[in-house]
Symmetry: C2
Subunit: 387 residues, 2 copies
């Protein structure tokens, strides 16, 4: 086991009706609130009205920032920072999915950032001084409600960059807010959750037992409950289990004690989203089985991990060689049956940017520390296998 530090200050309020805690969670920080959200979904499900009513009743002064994009852009960060400064905001309230929360983390830190905000996004730094952030989650996917990271896109430079900013002070995770999430987004969100686990699970560390069991528990929960959520969108049991695993999956906990891997699938997917603005989880679902097949072929000494994956996650049995690929097949079928388009071609993506994306995904040979080290040529081959 590698050394690790566990220090997540976020308070999770999980379950139906936890919105009743919103006032007590915001109040210690002040009364001037930036209410930030994306499109109209929070209005459609009535959550916007609920939140506004709580804020009005509590005597808060509310400034709104709406229209945060699914892959949130630096322009929204700039807009939010200006609003916070102009209105002397005390606390940011993000209502939405991971994109809204990611954007608000960058805004919260950006308020205190002295310099160009894209430099902050692209710069090398630890946690930053930031405004307090409270969120109300409406999508089980990115885990942004329980980590410090955020991913911001710059369409001009075709860059989509992850960085750390600040932890939410508190996250309200009410599974009923995800009842109306479309089948497509439910499946994509679950693929994102599973990918967060894969990025740590496929590591050279063999002796971090609890982390591996937690990782497998998250994956088995996803496999059990995604089909239920798709066929019965208002199943509390299914939505609650997906929401619970989303928060833990991206917290780093399933990879505690394990060697870092560089998160190869996320590195590759961020390029797809930066160039084509596709849904993150769909990009991950397409890439993951191809990445698995590629590394298994490139370095058969990593097969032990795929054998364990097949046995412990999919409950498969057989000889090791069969198992190693059977687990990958099971994953690809699972995504396909969940209705995710499983080729880039179906998304209208061709060969045109493959070389450029591969170079971006592997700056300075970044992925040489992956579970199986990847060269830029390897990444090109993985992209091509996705077409």
């Amino acid at each position: 086991m590698r050394n690790f530090v566990h220090a997540i200050p976020t308070k999770l309020y999980f379950g139906e009706g936890q919105i009743r805690r919103l006032d007590e969670l915001l109040r210690p920080f002040g009364r001037r609130v930036l209410l930030a959200y994306g499109g109209g979904s929070i209005k459609r499900i009535g959550l916007y009205d609920t939140v506004k009513e709580i804020l009005d009743k509590g005597g808060y002064t509310v400034t709104e920032l709406s229209g945060i994009e699914p892959n949130p852009r630096i322009g929204s960060v700039r807009r939010g920072v200006e609003l916070c400064r102009e209105n002397k905001i005390d606390v940011i309230l993000a209502v939405g999915g991971g994109s809204t929360i990611d954007c608000c983390k960058a805004i919260a830190a950006g308020v205190y950032y002295d310099g160009d905000l894209w430099e902050m996004v692209a710069g090398d730094h630890e946690l930053l001084k930031a405004l307090p952030l409270v969120d109300v989650l409406t999508l089980a996917a990115t885990g942004s409600e329980y980590d410090a990271g955020g991913v911001i896109s710059n369409l001009e430079t075709k860059e989509k960059l992850g960085n750390v900013y600040t932890y939410p002070a508190a996250s309200i995770c009410d599974p009923t807010y995800t009842y109306s999430v479309s089948a497509y987004q439910t499946a994509a969100g679950t693929a994102d959750i599973m990918s967060h686990v894969f990025e740590g699970y496929f590591s050279r560390t063999e002796d971090s037992s609890l982390s591996d069991y937690i990782a497998e528990g998250i994956l088995k929960t996803a496999i059990k409950y995604l089909p239920v959520a798709l066929s019965e969108p208002t199943s509390y049991e299914a939505r609650a289990n997906l929401m619970a695993i989303a928060s833990v999956a991206c917290s780093g906990i399933p990879a505690y004690g394990k060697q870092g891997t560089g998160w190869p699938c996320h590195s590759m997917e961020h390029e797809l989203s930066a160039f084509y603005d596709i849904t993150h989880g769909v990009g991950l679902a397409i890439l993951t089985p191809r990445w698995m097949r590629f590394i298994l072929k490139k370095d058969p000494s990593c097969a032990w991990r795929f054998v364990r994956f097949a046995k412990n996650v999919w409950g498969l049995s057989g000889d090791d060689e069969t198992l190693a690929t059977a687990g990958i097949d099971a994953l690809e079928n699972f995504f396909r049956e969940a209705g995710i388009p499983m080729t880039l071609t179906e998304l209208g993506i061709g060969e045109e940017h493959v070389a450029e994306m591969a170079a971006h995904a592997n700056p300075d040979g970044y992925l040489k520390n992956a579970f199986v080290p990847l060269t830029t040529e390897d990444i090109e081959e993985i992209y091509r296998a996705c077409l």
Copy 2:
């Protein structure tokens, strides 16, 4: 899934050599430190000298509280509170196992408590205002390094009471400090870890998937690594895995989303320790299989949970009726093979206080909300089965 709140502010610094962070962890709180510990074990392993050197070099003023008992007593709490008040202590540094940390939590809160300290221990309250507490862990067992609870004994009144006080601000968890822990205490500590999981795992909630998988992962890790730690006490892999599961087991995480159970085995064991001052984990190991057999017989409708336990934790297969008891047999054998005396008689305990202990363990019918509700007569029967 039931609603839950996850809010653990403790920072865990896990792994060999993390003691180098001690100065930076203490410094924000001030320079007047209460250094609290139990017997001589921290001197034998050189940890006392290491800590003193760091404190001296950092210019801290150190007041010592030594001799905290394995079942820490109210007298030690009183002594610690006096020392803190007299010496205007800024921060408490607990170096030891769960007993030392438990005692220091009560001291940290006791400093601000206006009234008799046994009233604080016995009273009904939430988290209390407390001095900051940092600990250096030397035993994988109670999980006190990652929760807010503490258990304090009063030999005069024959009471041993758990309560919540405060979370440690930071815990340094270095597995190498447990290399010299005896086989007996290693086995007892692991039994304690496993019991923390059982207390939540055996619940009527069937739909909290991740919690159940985390619980099973902790149990499987304990089963794998206790024998390794016993045969090879300086195995970093074994000691690290046991230390990692200890913190998570008692954090409440393996029971998130599940119905409360009243922690029946802990309720019963606290009476044994209060009356006979025995090792907590040994009492739990003796009680647990007897409790399991009793409730399975009393209410066969709970058998599904024991079947899952046998399959998922012990990897057993067979028909359900056989499985339900086979898992319990496996657990009892596991404890016995680890060298734990598996009857109360071996500890010199007889029938003399059974009725009294059973009444104490079930005040106001407290255990009517257990997985299988227990009457005081039921508890007497379980104690007798342990003789």
